[in-house]
Amino acid sequence: MSLFGTNTGFGSGGTGVFGTTTTDSHNPMKDVEVTSPPDDSISCLAFSPPTMPGNFLIGGSWANDVRCWEVQDNGQTVPKAQQMHTGPVLDVCWSDDGSKVFTASCDKTAKMWDLNSNQTIQIAQHEGPIRTIHWIKAPNYSCVMTGSWDKTLKFWDTRSPNPMMSLQMPERCFCADVVYPMAVVATAERGLIVYQLENQPSEFRRIESPLKHQHRCVAIFKDKQSKPTGFALGSIEGRVAIHYINPPNPAKDNFTFKCHRSNGTNTATPQDIYAVNAISFHPVHGTLATVGSDGRFSFWDKDARTKLKTSEQLDQPITACCFNNNGNIFAYASSYDWSKMSRVNDDCYVHYYIQQQNTSILLSINYRGRGLCRTTSF
């Protein structure tokens, strides 16, 4: 695996580079592990869009690198390429045609990575680390949206060094999501802003946060007509809020639920409450997956308001997750997210896990992203 360079601690860093057979809490779900994971915590994952054949996974990490793997249909992963920033990579996204990857980093820049030529170009510059990056494809324009800790949201045409537009936010951007024509940004101090992207991006509404704690992750969901209609917002307090933009009955339609807590029903002992690190919606079923600092991931049905499944507990927090374009594969990253501040050393064994949904057997009308069968043959 010299494809990714020979830096120290690389090969030795992983206990399960080729999969592990021990019954460990590192991979209790016995999912497939991606080969050659990064050396430091993974901040973001993104699968290639449906316009591209095959499944390519991009992961950005705190080791300043962005890696690309091809995920084959049998579950094998093949490392393909890698690029570097000069600071930890905080977010990645694909262009709609699958030819470019955009990466945002703590070094205050964002880069566009042309996968065909394996070249990167800097396309954005902020005054603070860039926390989120999203590709916007509108009928009359397309651009990259970057949200930064310098409290601005900027939109970049990749050909120009100056932003097409720069919007001021009340606070630092903590997370964002884009599903045209809607964009949601959650900021520090529990700020929540919805933007509409038709014609040109503009602020649509500032929403009072349905959560009482710091915002951590947000994901937009769509209605039956595939139009974005609301979002799920996760906080550090083990809670997710489902919020519709224009619901018929806000008091009834919007709700929050607790997740990623220990001692679910036992009220005698105090609960451990963990942060929700990422939320992803299944592209087909509309169910959502949440991953938390407690090292578990859960699947939920927001319409039936039920929990579908919770995984076993991993030995590390899960920091990122992503469904592939048809929902067959759920990728989640197990790595340290700094939530306990009690790490003694900085080494972090990081593995990706790929969980393949066997839809041909388990999918039924009532089956909403449930029961991810394990690809145990690997």
Binding site: G5, T6, N7, W62, A81, Q82, Q83, M84, T86, G87, P88, L90, C106, D107, K108, T109, K111, M112, S117, N118, Q119, T120, I121, Q122, Q125, E127, G128, P129, R131, W149, D150, K151, T158, R159, S160, P161, N162, E171, R172, A188, E189, R190, K212, H213, Q214, R216, I236, E237, T267, P270, Q271, D272, I273, Y274, A275, W338, S339, K340, M341, S342
Partner: protein, 418 residues
């Protein structure tokens, strides 16, 4: 501990006189039987809370606590579990229990006075209600006001701990009955808020009665934070933890010290009621905020004034800032430094000096001053096609033509870095 334990009584419901083993069960009972809205079945936390809910949501007034025995139906009294029970009723209860235990002893000795005693005891508490309610009536206005505070406070408490503090603190000095000072105290204990509590505001709360309430409340918090501290923490976190523990111990000490000067018999029952009432909701929500401190210790304790995310916290560490170019430095220079990590930390230490605060304003836009040189894009130090470079660090060092980053005349470097 040098302090009389006031609550030797088993928990019992003031509204219906039922006994319970555990205060938690008592509270569940109260919420289900006495503080439950008859219209929407929402369970509130207190009587006034129920009244306010019915008024705001259903536009209905409520004048008595549901399922309460006569004489105990006061909807205005802020009682939660065992907190808020008027002192007189507590003493009555104690008397009743003592008499009952005496009766059982007497019964063993075959005495017949027990029946008469029972009747007297039953009449006793209710007869005390009328006079008790009148001095309390005088405190209604401030209490309902405070009732508003604990109401939303109890539910939004962790949040109020962050943002609601300053307004509360300013309101402390004028309120003589001394109720509000207790609130921020308790909240600070549980959330580990910074030690700049308004200490001068604390003395007005005097009597021993509320003291035991906050101290009891503080005990669950302190072990929780202590257990959090027992795990290995970064040194700064450990210090902050100790600050929190220091805070909790000092705040519980100072009321102890100052109360004798402020004992006022007339205000005692209501202050006890209100302050211990206020203390109670945070105490029972202890389990969550106390554990929440473990989780958000990184955020709250280390940066108590800032709402900082885990990523920001992490990005400030020197090891993640080594490679980020500073104004006046080149990316090449920055990139070449870290591999020689043993180089006395020259680069890292310099880079740490202005720690990368999220709001830092480095007008690095100056880098883009150069117009695109006729290339379709502008190369930010073009990466060579993959496969040529083995090392992890990109080979900027070869000096690409005019790297846009940082070679500009240092627009704002405070001093030369090299």
């Amino acid at each position: 501990m040098g302090r009389k334990k006031k609550k030797q009584l088993k928990p019992w419901c003031w509204y219906c006189n039922r006994d319970f083993d555990d205060e938690k069960i008592l509270i569940q009972h109260q919420k289900a039987k006495h503080f439950k809205c008859h219209i929407c079945h929402k369970k509130l936390y207190t009587g006034p809370g129920l009244a306010i809910h019915c008024m705001q949501v259903h536009k209905e007034t409520i004048d008595a606590v549901p399922n309460a025995i006569p004489g105990r139906t006061d909807i205005e009294l802020e009682i939660y579990g065992m907190e808020g029970i008027p002192e007189k009723d507590i003493q009555d209860r104690r008397r009743v229990l003592e008499q009952k235990s005496q009766e059982s002893q007497k019964k063993k000795q075959d005495q017949d006075d027990s029946d008469e005693d029972d009747d007297d005891d039953e009449a006793g508490p209710s007869s005390f209600q009328q006079p008790a309610s009148q001095p309390q009536a005088a405190y209604m206005p401030p209490m309902t006001q405070a009732g508003m505070h604990p109401g939303p406070q109890a539910q939004g408490m962790p949040r109020a701990g962050y943002a609601g503090m300053p307004p509360m603190l300013t309101g402390i000095p004028p309120m003589i009955p001394g109720m509000p000072p207790v609130m921020p105290l308790i909240i600070f204990l549980f959330l580990g808020m910074p030690p700049h509590v308004a200490r001068p505001g604390m003395p007005p709360m005097a009597p021993a009665a509320p003291i035991t309430a906050p101290r009891m409340a503080s005990r669950p918090a302190v072990p929780a934070t202590q257990s959090a501290a027992s795990k290995p923490l970064f040194p700064s976190a450990v210090q902050a933890q100790q600050t929190v523990l220091g805070l909790s111990s000092t705040t519980s000490d100072s009321p102890k010290v100052t109360f004798p000067a402020y004992t006022q018999p007339s205000s005692t029952p209501s202050v006890a009621a209100s302050s211990s009432t206020v203390a109670k909701p945070p105490a029972t929500v202890t389990s969550k905020p106390a554990i929440l401190t473990t989780l958000i210790a990184a955020i709250v304790l280390l940066h108590p004034d800032e709402d900082i995310s885990l990523e920001e916290r992490r990005a400030q560490l020197p090891r993640y800032q080594r490679l980020i170019p500073r104004p006046g430095q080149t990316a090449a220079a920055a990139a070449s430094a870290p591999p020689s990590g043993a180089v006395g930390g020259m680069i890292p230490s310099q880079q740490v000096i202005p720690p990368q605060q999220p709001g830092m304003r480095h007008p690095i836009h100056g880098q883009y001053g150069g117009p695109p040189q006729g290339m379709p894009g502008y190369m930010g130090g073009g990466m060579p096609p993959y496969g040529q470079s083995a090392p992890m660090v990109p080979p900027y060092q070869s000096g690409p033509p005019g790297p846009p980053m940082g070679i500009r005349p240092p627009v704002m470097s405070p001093g030369s870095r090299y």
